[in-house]
């Protein structure tokens, strides 16, 4: 039913989104916890940076990534020279673009979930002998888990369908960076591409609906579970 081209685009999208989430999640956990719990100078600036990709034109985000992580970018050149890692125009670069674009959607529910964890429970855990790190992993993290799932579902869906930043930073290379959204775009450029575009769009639609549904379900668990 699905053409090899469509399957390849779907498989690539899943790979890109998975890598994006794997790298972004630890950062999002740190950012979400920090924004919810810590007070530090420059917190406003960090908040702006975290949520900026949500409102910036994706093509601008992609262009900024190119400036920073491209072959001539400060970090890009360093990565290539010291680690031999090239991001621009590679699938890993597509993952970077997708991860940056998905980051705000990932952080928001996580920050809300951490903020909703009752600190008095953590105090109680402390009096029972548990050190702060142990309290985080036995109490705070499990209690915030629904919010983390919600963030991952949303972020994964966003990463799967990212277009603007990806095409700008990683280009549209078949089999390397032509993800689902880029494949739809390419199909629409072709006179006979309608059926392919419809098929790909249906895939994107179902994956997106599933992710939002899962995210909402997880979010409802945050509200329902909170009890001191």
């Amino acid at each position: 039913m699905l053409s090899a081209e469509a399957l390849s685009a779907l498989a690539l999208s899943l790979k890109v989104a998975a890598l994006a989430m794997a790298v972004a999640l630890p950062l999002a956990l740190t950012a979400g916890y920090g924004l919810a719990r810590w007070r530090f100078p420059g917190k406003g600036l960090v908040t702006v940076l975290v949520y900026l990709p949500l409102v910036l034109p994706p093509v601008v985000t992609g262009y900024l990534l190119l400036i920073i992580f491209g072959p001539n970018g400060a970090i890009g050149r360093w990565l290539e020279q010291s680690l031999g890692l090239v991001l621009a125009f590679r699938w890993t670069g597509a993952a970077l673009a997708a991860g940056v674009m998905a980051f705000p959607l990932l952080v928001r529910p996580i920050a809300l979930a951490f903020a909703a964890v009752d600190k008095r429970l953590e105090d109680a855990a402390g009096t029972l002998g548990a050190k702060p790190g142990i309290v985080f992993f036995t109490l705070t993290l499990p209690l915030a888990a629904p919010g983390i799932f919600a963030g991952v579902a949303l972020g994964f869906a966003k990463a799967l369908g990212e277009f603007g930043a990806t095409i700008t930073f990683a280009a549209n290379i078949p089999g390397e960076t032509r993800t689902l959204a880029l494949a739809v775009h390419t199909a629409l450029q072709r006179p006979d591409g309608d059926m392919l575009a419809i098929g790909l769009s249906l895939i994107a639609l179902s994956v997106g609906a599933l992710a939002v549904g899962l995210s909402e379900f997880a979010a409802s668990r945050i509200r329902g579970d909170r009890r001191a």
Binding site: L121, G126, T127, A130, R227
Partner: protein, 364 residues
């Protein structure tokens, strides 16, 4: 009394000043004070959740806090168990996992046996339940068990019954009674409910306006007549220790001996020789200069007047002695004047009703 816990702290937060010097020994030490007197702040300081401005806190010769030497042990290292007003059970863990938290997450390996604590607090039937299915009283019992199972050197109970309604409170009091007598861990019991304190406590510390107003054995402090404003008049009374000397099966009565004086009370289901603790409210006692005849009151006990406090209103508070024990009496100012009561005078206390607050089981 050997002090287990010694506290000397000064603190100021938002127009509220706290300056408390107190100590607690074995058994149950009640910390009494009206709402806002600083009791919970004090609990937080002992537990390591609130940092005092200055002072020193020592538990079993371990310095928990010392502002002079910059010592402030973090909560996990203090070994101070706390039961908060709300149970604060961990909602994602079963009752069993909650109870054992101090062991698997807190690394407290020397904890008492789970089975022993469960039977002490009646938790066997609810071990696999989720905290959100528990009643308020059950949740509080789990919280007590969880604190006990973290092998604390001292247990702080911060108004553990204040969130429960009357029936639930009555349910849990007997468990607390057992805890006080059988757990072996020293307990600081924070409360503003007199019935709980008289039933559970051995020693009493009265906190008022951020400072210690009085402290000592509960019988002594409760009968002190200068504490009226802090403890409340209506409930004012005395705690006395007595011993069962016999029963009158025909009439359903029990005879007690209080330092040689005899007292008859409604039957207590305990054998002769059992030590009991009685609560006698000041307003249930009358005074006479001669033993009255032909009177329904059974208990006519010779006393010595120790102290008289005449008040602004119509009442006078009289502190009398039965042997070494204090009996507080509330009469009208007019009666006090007409009888010509004065310290050192002999009189007879007519005691109408007596509440048995506790059978002193292990101690006394």
């Amino acid at each position: 009394m050997t002090a287990v816990l010694e506290v000397d702290v000064q603190h100021r937060a938002g127009g509220f000043a706290l300056d408390v010097g107190a100590s607690a020994g074995d058994g149950v030490t009640a910390l009494f004070g009206r709402s806002g007197a600083g009791k919970s702040t004090l609990v937080g300081m002992i537990a390591g959740l609130v940092k005092p401005a200055t002072g020193r806190i020592v538990l079993n010769d371990r310095v928990l806090f010392d502002s002079k030497n910059g010592i402030n042990l973090p909560a996990p290292q203090r070994r101070v168990g706390v039961v908060f007003q709300e149970a604060r059970l961990f909602p994602h863990l079963s009752v069993r996992r909650n109870l054992l938290y101090g062991q698997w997450a807190g690394g407290r390996r020397d904890a008492p046996d789970l089975g022993a604590v469960c039977s002490l607090l009646g938790l066997d039937a609810i071990l696999e339940r989720s905290p959100d299915t528990l009643s308020g009283g059950e949740a509080q019992r789990v919280a007590i068990g969880r604190a006990l199972l973290s092998a604390p050197d001292i247990l702080l109970l911060d108004e553990p019954l204040s969130q429960l309604d009357g029936a639930r409170r009555a349910d849990i009091l007997p468990w607390l009674d057992r805890l006080a007598h059988e757990a072996g861990t020293p307990i600081v019991y924070v409360s503003h409910a007199f019935d709980e304190i008289t039933r559970l406590a051995d020693n009493l510390i009265v906190i008022s306006d951020g400072g210690v107003l009085a402290s000592g054995p509960v019988e002594e402090v409760i009968s002190r007549i200068d504490l009226g404003p802090a403890t409340g008049r209506h409930e004012a009374g005395s705690l006395l220790r007595g011993e069962i000397i016999g029963h009158d099966e025909t009439y359903g009565l029990t005879r007690l001996s209080l330092d040689g004086a005899n007292l008859t009370v409604p039957a207590i289901a305990a054998p002769a020789g059992t030590a009991v603790r009685l609560r006698i409210r000041a307003r249930d006692v009358a005074l006479a200069l001669e033993p009255p005849a032909k009177i329904s009151v059974r208990n006519i006990i010779p006393v010595t007047i120790a102290e008289i406090a005449l008040e602004e209103g119509p009442f006078a508070e009289v502190l009398t002695k039965i042997g070494e024990q204090n009996l507080r009496v509330r009469i009208t100012r007019r009666s006090a004047e007409e009888l010509g009561l004065a310290p050192g005078a002999h009189a007879y206390a007519l005691i109408k009703s007596v509440a048995i607050v506790r059978r002193a089981l292990a101690r006394s």
